[in-house]
């Protein structure tokens, strides 16, 4: 069915206007970042020449090279760590019988709904007591914990879709539980793990509150959003174009990954909905 011409016109108009509105804010700071100093026209018309000077200033003044690296380290560590522990636990939930199984699953639901504000204060003192404040661990360990809920429930759904006949075939061949996990369940579920990893990567990369609270003093481990926030807030630097350049620099990695993997991002979010 393709509706009437009027309906098609309305539909495409809405979509085009929506897409423009969605992309404009980011586009406007890209333009601002490329605008040389003399030409600040208020952001509605394009500048006549572009410059990369603002990016150079932002990069050297803001230490974003280090910040982007920190973000990468933390995100990869969380994705790997969370995926690993989640698939181990999910395997148990899916294939084994044990007491209190549904209870433990219910306990995991707490993590899905718990706002970080509810745990950030004790987390600060806990990590301080462990001597881990202002290190990468301060960001990695809690975020693995907060990813466990989503991770276990996600992998449980993925593993539940593995045909039991495959597992039986493997055990007939003499495989034990451990090797069945790695040889049967894991390979089949790789797409699901890929999507989970993509989602966790996004959430971890963008996490701001945890970084602000747990690594406030050590620029060497501050992640990109935090470094950007400090940079933008520092009033020595009130040239909006330099701030815009910094923001674009921080956004680029995720935007680039998104452009390549957007199907995964989107299917991750929507598959979560179907599950619920």
């Amino acid at each position: 069915m393709n509706g009437s011409r009027r309906e098609r016109l309305l539909g495409y108009t809405l979509l085009v206007v929506g897409a423009l509105l969605a992309l404009y804010p980011f586009a406007s700071i890209v333009v601002l970042a490329l605008t040389p100093k003399g030409e600040r026209s208020g952001g509605v018309s394009l500048p006549s020449s572009i410059t990369l000077a603002n990016f150079a200033t932002a990069w050297t003044r803001g230490g974003f090279g280090q910040a982007l690296w920190s973000s990468l380290v933390v995100a990869v560590a969380v994705v790997v760590g969370a995926s690993l522990v989640s698939l181990l636990a999910a395997y148990a939930f899916t294939t084994m019988r044990f007491p209190a199984k549904s209870l433990l699953l219910a306990v995991l639901l707490v993590g899905l709904i718990m706002p970080y504000e509810g745990i950030i204060v004790p987390l600060y003192y806990l990590l301080d007591g462990m001597g881990l404040l202002n290190t990468y661990w301060a960001l990695i360990l809690p975020q693995i914990a907060t990813s466990v809920s989503l991770g276990v429930l996600w992998m449980r759904t993925a593993f539940a879709a593995v045909p039991p006949s495959l597992a039986e075939a493997a055990s007939i061949d003499g495989a034990n539980r451990w090797s069945t996990l790695w040889r049967v369940y894991l390979p089949i579920s790789l797409p699901a793990i890929g999507t989970l990893g993509t989602l966790l990567f996004l959430y971890t990369w963008n996490e701001f509150l945890m970084a602000l609270v747990l690594v406030p003093q050590n620029p060497a481990v501050q992640t990109a959003p935090l470094a950007l926030s400090f940079f933008a807030g520092s009033t020595r630097n009130f040239d909006p174009a330099v701030t815009a350049a910094a923001a674009v620099t921080v956004a680029l990695p995720i935007v680039a990954v998104y452009v390549v993997l957007q199907r995964r991002f989107i299917s991750g979010i929507t598959a979560g909905a179907v599950k619920e």
Binding site: M1, E7, G11, L15, G18, A22, L23, P25, F26, I29, S41, G43, V44, L88, A89, A92, M96, R97, F98, P99, V107, V110, I113, P115, Y116, E117, G118, I119, I120, V121, P122, L123, Y124, A145, S149, V152, L202, N206, F208, L209, L212, V213, P225, L228, S229, P240, A246, A247, V248, V250, A251, V255, Y258, Q262, R263, F265, I266, S267, A273, E276
Partner: protein
């Protein structure tokens, strides 16, 4: 009627005690860095503590203080306003979009979907910087208004008592719309074509079709969208921190902002914990309500 098992050696299911080994890594992280802190949050709220020296037990005093604090109620009120902007408006807008495009076949839907989802994947700090520019005194919004002769409307949107709260709200609508849209599109695509054909044969026009077929089919997606968006509205630390810091005056304060300030700036850690507990309870209550309101009607014929 209950069936009684015959007396005698009862059949016992074999348990995989080794399962717990598989559970330990995940639950170790979970308990140490999430569950225990949840409990500790409640515990700390019973004390008056500056985070450094010894603490003193004050029982319910922090909770009473928080629940009686005009400042906190005002912040909670702002959060309610944000629910409108972050959850209700995007949901309604997205449903309108869905209602329209359900009638047509859209070429390049994947592109539109990807474009509309961009706001949701950007870091909140980047979003804040982009919108601070747009709302700036000499930024694109004011420039555009001035150029079409509406210069009288131009102002520092984020610095004006009347417009700061709605301006932050608009940012939220912009971020969340894409999430709702993407969720609803996937739900739309799952609706079997026969349902639409049946409606058409019955002579249903676009509105009837929307309310009879599309909307009910999206119930699950609406539920998920609302839960995610309302949670974001009630938390909303990042955007407020990076745009208005709760100002001007106290016109854009939110509870999570006070949690941070009380814990780490003014050093009333007990009070901060009390606010955190109250906020968490509020979020759980609202989410539970939403799930209740949007659950399957009756026994669910699906």
């Amino acid at each position: 009627m209950r069936i009684r098992e015959p007396a005698g050696p009862t059949r016992r299911r074999r348990y995989d005690w080794g399962a717990y080994l598989y559970l330990v890594p995940a639950f170790a992280f979970y308990v140490v860095f999430l569950l225990r802190p949840v409990v500790e949050s409640v515990w700390i709220a019973f004390f008056d503590w500056d985070g450094i020296s010894a603490s003193t037990w004050v029982g319910n005093a922090n909770f009473a203080d928080v629940l009686g604090s005009q400042q906190i109620w005002q912040a909670a009120g702002h959060s309610m306003v944000f629910i409108v902007f972050y959850a209700l408006v995007p949901t309604v807008l997205a449903l309108v979009f869905i209602g329209v495009i359900a009638r047509i076949r859209v070429r390049g839907l994947a592109f539109f979907r990807a474009a509309l989802f961009v706001p949701y994947i950007l870091s909140t700090v980047v979003v804040a910087i982009a919108w601070r520019w747009i709302f700036a005194e000499s930024g694109p919004l004011n420039t555009a208004l001035r150029s079409i002769g509406l210069g009288g409307l131009a102002r520092t949107w984020l610095g004006d008592f009347d417009t700061a709260l709605p301006s932050v709200g608009v940012i939220g609508t912009w971020v969340m719309f894409g999430l709702a849209f993407v969720l609803f599109v996937s739900g739309l695509q799952a609706i079997p074509a026969e349902l639409f054909e049946a409606a058409r044969i019955d002579g249903a026009g676009p509105f009837r079709e929307f309310f009879a077929v599309t909307l009910p089919a999206l119930r699950g997606e609406i539920q998920v969208a609302l839960v995610l968006m309302i949670t974001a509205a009630l938390r909303n630390f990042d955007i407020v921190w990076n745009t208005t810091s709760g100002g001007p005056g106290t016109s854009t304060t939110v509870p999570s902002y006070f949690i941070y300030r009380e814990a780490f700036v003014t050093h009333h850690v007990g009070r901060a914990s009390a606010i955190a507990v109250a906020l968490t309870v509020l979020i759980i209550a609202v989410v539970a309500t939403v799930m209740r309101l949007t659950r399957e009607p009756g026994g669910g014929a699906r």
